[in-house]
């Protein structure tokens, strides 16, 4: 297929995934911010939301203070934020338009309807919790619908694999990013210091990656920070864990190399990362530094994105 088409499919999937993640961040932050400070601590959840979304630098150029209003506006609607939900949907639709031929009708419909629907929502209307909840549900449903349409209707050929790669690289980045911002509440030391305060932080992390219920099924015990980290990093049953993302990345890259009859740096890099995740134990990760592990991972994941671009998309 055309390199440009593959590139568009890859980024289209990434942007839809990113929009959904932003919606979850806003949801989790709203929940934490609404708790009495005796439960959630006095930290500003909205500051942390901006950091988790990876746009702190841009945000503080536009706003002085991170409040519910400024952050929701910036993360959901701001045209100045290239990664706001609005911008994500806009870029996704532009990409979709330019590769209409590579999308199924259902995928196009999911994106195009979302874009039309988006114009109904305005930041000012979201001050009521009910409206905000509806908006976030709409964004998450768009992600599910797009993903589901791709899964159910696309030919299992290179277009599908590039689209999956986009989803997984973005998803791995998002999971790693939330760990990166929140790693301090997962550190063993904070257990004694923070006590119950951190409990709600852990549940917020799990909620942001829709893993709260999964946690209980897997570990069958109350929230423990190292188990939260284990679930999000190493548990390959958990769809948003780094391990699960990399298993899928390796599989999709293998499908490509099989179909094209050759492999390259992207395949090798992906396999190396997966092997590292397979062999790691959560104790060792905490011992050698959770923060270092996560920031190394983010760098590697970015490098893999660049390698895929170099090998296939240009």
């Amino acid at each position: 297929m055309l390199s440009r088409t593959a590139d568009n499919l890859f980024w289209l999937a990434r942007y839809v995934e990113r929009a959904e993640y932003l919606a979850r961040i806003i949801e989790a932050s709203t929940r934490l911010a609404n708790l009495p400070s005796a439960y959630a601590g006095t930290s500003n959840e909205w500051e942390s939301a901006v950091a988790t979304a990876g746009c702190a630098h841009l945000f503080y150029q536009a706003h002085e203070k991170a409040t519910r209003e400024t952050v929701i506006d910036f993360l959901a609607f701001s045209p100045d934020n290239p990664s706001s939900i609005r911008s994500c949907f806009e870029v996704a639709r532009t990409n979709a338009r330019s590769v209409r031929t590579a999308l199924t009708v259902e995928m196009w419909d999911a994106i195009n309807s979302a874009w039309l629907e988006l114009s109904k929502y305005r930041a000012s209307g979201l001050n009521q919790d009910e409206n905000l909840a509806n908006f976030l549900a709409f964004v998450k449903e768009t992600g599910l619908r797009f993903d589901g349409s791709a899964y159910r209707t696309m030919l299992r050929s290179d277009g599908y694999w590039f689209s999956r790669l986009g989803v997984m690289i973005e998803r791995a980045d998002n999971t790693a990013r939330i760990l990166d911002v929140k790693y301090h509440v997962l550190l063993p030391a904070s257990e004694t210091v923070g006590g119950s305060l951190d409990y709600f932080q852990w549940s917020a992390i799990l909620r942001a990656v829709s893993a709260l219920t999964a946690y209980h099924w897997v570990y069958k015990e109350s929230l423990k920070p190292w188990l939260v980290a284990d679930l999000l990093i190493l548990n390959d049953q958990m769809p948003r864990s780094l391990a699960a993302c990399y298993e899928s990345i390796v599989r999709n890259l293998d499908s490509l190399s099989l179909a094209y009859g050759r492999q390259g740096p992207a395949q090798r890099a992906a396999r190396a990362t997966r092997t590292r995740l397979e062999n790691a134990r959560i104790e060792d990760i905490f011992q050698s530094g959770l923060h270092e592990f996560v920031s190394d991972f983010i760098t590697e994941n970015n490098r893999l994105g660049a390698a895929i671009t170099q090998q296939y998309l240009t």
């Binding site: 297929m1 055309l2 390199s3 532009t94 338009r97 209409r100 419909d109 094209y260 296939y312």
Partner: protein, 475 residues
Amino acid sequence: MAGAAPIFDEMTLADGAVRPAYETLARWLQSIPPDLLATRSREAEALFRRIGITFAVYGDAASTERLIPFDVIPRVLTSDEWGRLSKGLTQRVRAINAFLGDVYSKREILRAGIVPEDLVYRNPAFRPEMNQQPVPHGIYVMIAGIDIVRVDGDTFYVLEDNARTPSGVSYMLENREVMIRLFPELFSAHRVAPVENYTDDLLATMQSVAPRSASSDPTCVLLTPGLFNSAYYEHTFLADKLGVELVEGRDLFVKADVVYMRTTEGPKRVDVIYRRLDDDFLDPLVFRPDSALGVPGLMSAYHAGNVTLANAVGTGVADDKAVYSYMPEIVKFYLGEEPILKNVPTWRCREADELKYVLERLPELVVKEVHGSGGYGMLIGPKATSAEIETFREKLIADPANFIAQPTLALSTCPTLVEEGVAPRHVDLRPFVLTGRDKVRIVPGGLTRVALKEGSLVVNSSQGGGTKDTWVLDS
């Protein structure tokens, strides 16, 4: 002569009788509840918006994506009417191809003095780069859109030939899909000839004109100027139905006079390019050097015979409005046949006595720029203010060769859903004629465009026109 002619309605004759082709439809229109058409019309609009069938209007920054209004009442032609049209269209496009082959090689028609030399040589659409250059299989115009108007029960005129990159075929196809979805009862009451095989015909046509050096399974692509082109939706639609890659200039490159596209598996050779990009932008090394839309080196690959461009370069010299007036002579010269389809009577303002006639009758004539298209740059005498007529008169005197004039035609009307209910509105018809190495293919019907404003004759989508589904009834 023009203003006085009664207007021919394709459904209802002046005495109130319904023409046979419309009998079932007319009965149905009478039997349905009054709001049914409006309801279905809204459903149709929602469908079109959902599918994303939009077009862009140049110079209209506020709404870059608009829908072309769709009228839910179909236009009906009998198979006899279509049979005649289809023969005439085939003949006309054969003549156009013969003319282009001649103009870029032996120029017999110029030497015979039938078409004036300067009309060809000084025509901005004439491409000296194509001089004495053979094109694959000698076919220049593989895809033509011939605009037809009707003035009475028997007379169809060719209003305009489009031999460059005619658009609108996606509307023909989507209109039919939407109609079948919204009005299944009408399709069981009529035998409507299908149009859905158009894209298969187009692919067969493209494959048939692949260069001889191509493999037996030639690679065809559709070249688009990109997202911002007004017909972009159509490009994606066609590429999808054809099952070919939709490429932009940057997806292609030329190496050793062979065209390749950049794919995830490395370079892949391209044999046939259905290009929806004007000549000017095709190759910055030969035409406009500032074009970022084209492919450097494309023309040398073309001249080397390694790629087919559909349509060929330089076809615009045949669909020019001044050359148009010579089409009856062109048909006779190459085919030795009488033209089956008539031209609209046309005055060539380049000729002094005809200019004089035109200047005297500006308020009753339609005056068009020879190279204009899309309804821009024309004067419709009966609808113009006297100030507009005077401004136009100055333009005409300053550069008479740039204009032709025609009588204000009493274009036929068809019943159309408007705010006040069902009312007659003027229509035209653009059938699409495909010319391959093996044969000419035309799907029955074409795109009917309708002027939605009462009394208006301008059907162009850029000027507020709409479209209708066009039915050719099987006899």
